[in-house]
Symmetry: C2
């Protein structure tokens, strides 16, 4: 029970791709064995007819690599020998995407920079296809011309994976935003990859359903990007991962071929489940163009509780208590520490809804009977207070108050951006161990960091460790890494229950 | 919403493998493009060093292919040019598996025949490894010697996939039956592949957890076989598919290499999720040797309701009503038709617990508060009776009565074996369409069949169509197939939302 993984570490993805190559004779080439999480799909150098060639590149998570910027060898890979976009290429794109081939640098600006403004590309062409056929045409052409392509969804990613490293063509899914079908009996939604998560939620709410995932970036993120990164979000505890709820995918491969796995069956055991390879593959195997997903019924009753705890041990005890007493209506169990609260107060002027505590918990219940739910909640809170695992708390049943309590958790990322340059890590560990890393990191960095905060999904054993600095700070980065990776690695059991060849 | 699939049809699996081969340059060879569901892992003809070669073979679902039996070209494939087991091979196996290398034909008998006694192999060697290292040794040796291998779990499969076609060596997981670890906080169980599902359920019940899947064959089936066939079972509606609940797998490939994806993290986004390829691949890509799985808390309160309906439309209305009113406590919604009830009465002397109806429903609720659950159930039943969607019913809250009601659904398969030779089909369709096939098949076959029955998982859109005959009957089979496949295929939308290259 001591295995662990840091998502923003690339080593495992690189070695996994190696495994795939060995196992299946994949002709995929990883150019940068030692780089980095934000992988993206680039067109291949040569066009071997028989198989699908995908070349994976990436940028250091915080590498600023514009043409003018000084290149740091440790941070950014060399530009690969892809072709440069010519006037003829742009003419071709204009012929197939009239009015949707953007070359104006001002219009391209926001697509070249990530949400955190920590990495910047220098793409000169933004393509906005509306259909799968257009995506296929684009990729087939780029493949034949050896042009690099960077697929982009809502550009809400925090690890630099959604923007170009150099001058890759940006293929945006923003105009692929149609719902293709919805079945009110089965709750199965089929839509294009560029649908914004919140728009899908609103569409479904009118039909008495909800999306099985929810996350802070819902107002901008695309469902295709959610699937490509296997986003967990705030409801994983209740509705499980996208591997279970995504029923089908349509994907365009690098050479333009369309893989149609867009099943809309609750259960489909025919053949190998190829679509699973694309869930979480971050665009390295293809561009997701459509998704079918199983949606849960909209709950009749929703409650949110905001609680305070003295220690992380008490927080874990509260989690256990709440799993037992709230049972089937528990839909989220999230946490933030007092440092997060300080940043919410300072930068966003969000007042603490309860008294000051070292740890805060956001619990959501979703059920079909308001009376039953409030009774369960009441019993749980009584028990939690009586056994002193929590010291203070407040409950919301009204929509605006629910939203206000949720914002204490959802807006931590935003508060961090106001605190300075942020080094972000997304770590999965057995839940008992997740907070120790924050404590150890704080002790390790001392006053070298401005803030060291921890928050995240207790139910999923998923910690967001964030460290801020007044400005970008290579010395601080050197103090954080490889410390964070080594710390996580030492939490692995001697038996190394990680994905590897024995 | 008209796509459909018949699991027992092989075409899609064969074409999917073709897709995999084209997509990833797999060196896999499908020898029998037009054969059949029960694929199994055979050692390769030659041993290419660089990549993993898996040759897939199979038997017609009902092909009786003993050495002595007359071979039907349409039913069984030719034996491939694999080596014959020699005395030296047996000596080697005895040296690595002393006392666990079985060659006595009487002892091998039950491993050569499937549960339905519809297909029979003629294997002369049964190997019973206890560890992953032993499985690896066996496969490495068989690969080097070009010996065919048939992995076998509980041998409870109904499509002939678990027994040899010819003289393949049987590799049984029955002695790989240890629980490796269980974490009472996270509910994550790690165990060897040969653990019997019911034993795992009992182990977990003592620890206040349950397995996320349950099925009629639980007393014999192995968890490794459940995962290899992506079994759905009776709880899929509530806890989702194995693709979401299986957190990790350990698999031995045909050449003996061990792929360790045995993660025990609730969320793990590092690298490609290779283990997904093995879930549902029916042993064609490797032998599953260990599984880690996320288990739900044991519900405090369980109720089972047995209801009767006049029409399938009313049954579907009851399903919709029950999803709304039972909400988060609904854990199963199963059905059987009056023909199933007749067979249960006739062959197993199980009396109908309610009055005679054309359709019967088994609903299970599982929750954390007995009072809340019974109140929800009461309201639902009141509404169902008042709106006349159900005509009769009975409720069980006591364990033995719950078991008795469940047996009306779980023992249909057993009742069918007493009715004659059974042709079995396992079909996924949008739930509104699933029963029409039974009606159409009945009309199509007339008195050529003894019984045509339908039962299955309404919540998953999964129908079990079974047709019996006094004895094996090629003329009847010819009347059933390709009718059943064509019927299913016509239910696909013109846009063919099936897995295929566009």
């Amino acid at each position: 029970m001591t295995s662990g993984c840091v998502y923003s570490c690339c080593t495992s993805k690189a070695s996994m791709a190696g495994i795939l190559r060995r196992a299946f004779g994949l002709k995929q080439t990883l150019r940068f064995a030692k780089v980095s999480p934000p992988c993206r799909l680039l067109a291949p150098e040569n066009n071997s007819a028989a198989s699908c060639n995908l070349y994976v590149s990436g940028s250091g998570a915080r590498a600023l690599t514009t043409k003018k910027a000084e290149k740091s060898k440790s941070a950014a890979p060399e530009r690969l020998p892809f072709s440069r976009v010519t006037e003829e290429d742009v003419e071709y794109f204009r012929s197939i995407l009239p009015g949707r081939t953007i070359t104006d640098p001002d219009l391209l600006e926001s697509n070249n920079v990530d949400w955190l403004k920590s990495v910047k590309g220098s793409s000169e062409v933004l393509l906005r296809p509306q259909t799968t056929a257009e995506v296929s045409q684009i990729l087939r052409y780029c493949n034949s011309r050896n042009l690099a392509v960077n697929p982009q969804g809502g550009n809400t990613g925090l690890v630099g994976g959604s923007v170009p490293v150099y001058d890759e063509i940006i293929l945006s899914t923003s105009l692929m935003n149609n719902v293709l079908s919805f079945d009110g009996v089965s709750g199965i939604l089929t839509c294009q990859a560029g649908c914004v998560l919140e728009n899908l939620s609103l569409y479904l709410e009118e039909r008495d359903y909800i999306m099985p995932l929810d996350l802070g970036a819902k107002g901008s993120c695309h469902i295709g990007g959610n699937v490509a990164t296997n986003a967990g979000g705030l409801r994983l505890l209740r509705y499980g991962s996208l591997r279970g709820t995504v029923l089908g995918l349509e994907v365009v491969l690098a050479d333009g071929r369309v893989l149609d796995c867009l099943a809309t069956l609750r259960k489909d055991n025919t053949g190998y489940d190829l679509k699973q390879l694309f869930i979480g593959s971050e665009g390295t195997l293809g561009v997701i163009t459509a998704v079918s997903i199983l949606c849960p019924r909209k709950p009749v009753s929703v409650n949110v509780v905001f609680l305070g705890c003295e220690t992380f041990e008490q927080l874990l005890k509260t989690f256990q208590l709440c799993r037992g007493m709230l049972g089937e209506i528990l839909s989220a169990f999230e946490f933030l520490d007092s440092e997060c609260m300080r940043l919410l107060n300072t930068h966003l002027k969000l007042p603490n809804p309860i008294s000051d505590c070292p740890f805060y918990i956001v619990i959501e219940t979703a059920g079909s009977d308001p009376n039953h739910d409030s009774e369960k909640l009441h019993h749980f809170l009584e028990e939690a207070m009586n056994t002193c695992v929590v010291t203070d708390g407040t409950v919301a049943t009204e929509k605006s108050k629910i939203k206000a309590l949720w914002s204490m958790r959802e807006r931590v990322t935003e508060a961090l951006t106001h605190d300075g340059f942020t080094y972000k890590y997304d770590i999965s560990l057995p839940v008992e161990q997740i907070y120790q890393l924050v404590t150890d990191m704080r002790a390790h960095l001392g006053d070298r960091a401005r803030s060291v905060v921890g928050y995240g999904h207790v139910g999923d054993g998923n910690l967001h460790l964030n460290i801020t600095s007044p400005a970008k700070n290579p010395a601080l980065l050197a103090a954080i890494e490889p410390f964070v990776y080594e710390w996580t690695a030492t939490r692995r059991a001697a038996s190394a229950r990680s994905t590897a060849w024995a």
